[in-house]
Symmetry: C2
Subunit: 379 residues, 2 copies
């Protein structure tokens, strides 16, 4: 097999330049020989997740982007708004790699037992730089896929499944009994819905469109609230009374949705309270913002007492908190449900060069629910 | 001494009515005989704290208030905005008492040892209904003041001192090393400044006016940032780098100040970080909102990574968390520093009827820094 490995691999790069632009291009880089604990993987599939876009696009304004280069080696240049440029200060001049997760075939292995054992197998990986034809990576960052599993089915094994499991674990760790989830018709949302049904956890799904309501209900969801409904606040409050959900994970970030959720949680808690207090109910209400579909400011109308919290939520620190044993437990569960509970679906598949085409970039940058791209680096 | 006690006591009441108004008035109520564990206290001083105003004014629009009744028995009627009326739903038709804390002389005691021991002493009290001439109260809610301490010096023994101590304790419990405080020239702010100097805790004071800067600097403050300064963000970031403060207590609530603090904390953390991450620094940054000087929405511009939290902070649940021993430790510290570290100052003293006069109400409802009223119910 080592004979199959070429000398170089195409790798997608994102470079913020001092002239306040970001440049996306493919770079041919040498494939290193694996160290003792490492393997070289031919990357066969890598998804474009919302969590990849921050690094990839650097907050650029794609409406003003310019497409150049050749079909094989496209070069996209886009200007950065001032705020994005300030946020990118730490990466100016550094051609960053991208792609948090992917899957492929191990084509070379270092001398360690762990590495050698993976040779020839199909593995899922996490660790960045997955938008590349080959990836040299530590064996511990690979998950051997069950026999017969295709790389395309294992490519999204980490970010969404571990996030869905992380939400449920956080709920238990912080003593809540039910969950609220926004942008609930996303790949992640559908996964969380299946997981909560499996684990019998009451889940309140918040969506923005009628067809998303239908989608979730047909997948067995009990509580689906449409934020575009005129009766949204009353409907959400009723669902929160039913489920006693006091923890929400919000993918939108900007706007008033987090505030509305807290308001309805407080209304549900007050309805159950024995007496009036000017400080509001004593029930702690928590919203974690884990995405930024709406990049505008978060607006909080503080009419929900004083027992509340809002914060950022990120997978990596959560995994650090639960430690290696916790991570192993979650990994095993994902591996067992890769084509069922934790299955992802994609609207389109593109090559590395195809991922830099106008149509694809515009589509995945929009982060529309139900639109998800899979990169096939070795078509 | 029991002979001195009249049959009835004037008590300030706040009544939200179904017609969407709040009515403030004095009611003569019978003074009950104390139960075995209770004492009757002649209230000699009770402060008007910002935390009293929510219950007292019910969010009324004082600009549209009408003053009626007699000089001895004033009646103030003010309309409630819609949102305030919704928030007051639980108290419509119930004439609420007000005043969280106060001090006075124990004039009658129940049969228990704890109650009898207090007879004739000057005590500070917490437990509500302090805007009254007499208060029958459980002996455990009284703190016997050190010999020679006047009631006026003990009246504000609880809310501000315990809040200042609570901020410092929260800082330690949540593993921060320094504090940020807004509205820092308030009575509470000056107290926190003295406490942090005593305990050698770095404190970043945020104020809005030049004379408040002067006040705090002359009281020994090292870091004072003026949010009205054109260089505020840079000045705050520099103070945060100096102090490594990652925890703020915000009394304003509305507007952008909480967001600005998080932005500057992130800038300070990023300056110290070794490498760039699209998710921001790994340093957890926390703001607790404990007041609502600005009743408008809180606006968060999420340019501070994902390791952040904002939440409400209230003294009572904090005290529940530290338990009876923790509370006793803080009480003892307050008692020892009542006229020094934990001293309060007042701009005006008024009778119960005086507390309902136009000038006084307008002044304390404005919650201006440096303007604090003390009610003397038995002039």
């Amino acid at each position: 097999m080592p004979a199959e490995i070429p000398a170089t691999s195409l790798q997608l790069r994102s470079l913020v330049k001092a002239d306040q632009t970001v440049e996306l291009f493919l770079e041919a880089v040498e494939i290193p020989a694996p160290g003792p604990g490492e393997v070289v993987v031919r990357v066969e599939a890598a998804p474009v997740n919302p969590s990849d876009l921050g690094l990839l696009l650097a907050g650029a304004d794609l409406a003003a982007a310019v497409w150049g280069g050749s079909a094989d080696r496209p070069v996209v240049t886009a200007p950065l708004p001032d705020a994005a440029m300030r946020a990118a200060a730490g990466r100016v001049g550094i051609p960053m790699t991208a792609g948090n997760e992917g899957a492929g075939t191990v084509v070379a292995a270092g001398s360690s037992a762990a590495a050698t054992a993976l040779l020839g197998t199909t593995v899922a990986m996490v660790g960045g730089a997955m938008y590349a034809q080959y990836r040299c990576i530590d064996a511990s960052l690979c998950l051997e896929l069950p026999a017969g599993t295709q790389a395309v089915d294992g490519a999204s094994w980490f970010v969404n499944p571990m996030t869905a499991l992380g939400m449920v674990e956080t709920m238990r760790l912080e003593n809540h009994v039910a969950l609220v989830h926004t942008a609930a018709a996303s790949n992640l949302g559908q996964m969380l819905n299946r997981l909560c049904i499996e684990d019998q956890i009451p889940l309140v799904n918040i969506v923005r469109r009628h067809e998303q309501e239908e989608l979730l209900r047909s997948a067995g969801a009990t509580h689906v609230c449409n934020s575009a409904s005129p009766g949204f606040m009353a409907e959400l409050t009723a669902a929160l009374q039913d489920t006693a959900a006091t923890l929400a994970f919000d993918a939108t970030g900007g706007g008033r949705l987090a505030s509305q959720i807290l308001t309805c949680m407080e209304a549900a808690a007050s309805a159950a309270a024995a007496s009036y207090s000017p400080y509001g109910s004593t029930v702690h209400k928590q919203v974690y913002i884990y995405g930024s579909l709406d990049r505008g400011p978060t607006e909080l109308t503080r009419n929900f007492g004083l027992a509340w919290g809002i914060g950022g939520w990120l997978l990596t620190p959560f995994l650090q908190k639960i430690g290696p044993e916790g991570i192993q437990r979650l990994r095993s569960r994902v591996a067992a449900g890769l084509t069922t509970t934790f299955a992802s679906s994609y609207t389109d598949r593109v090559s590395l060069a195809g991922a830099l085409e106008h149509e694809a970039m515009t589509a995945y940058a929009r982060q529309a629910t139900g639109s998800k791209y899979l990169i096939i680096p070795n078509p």
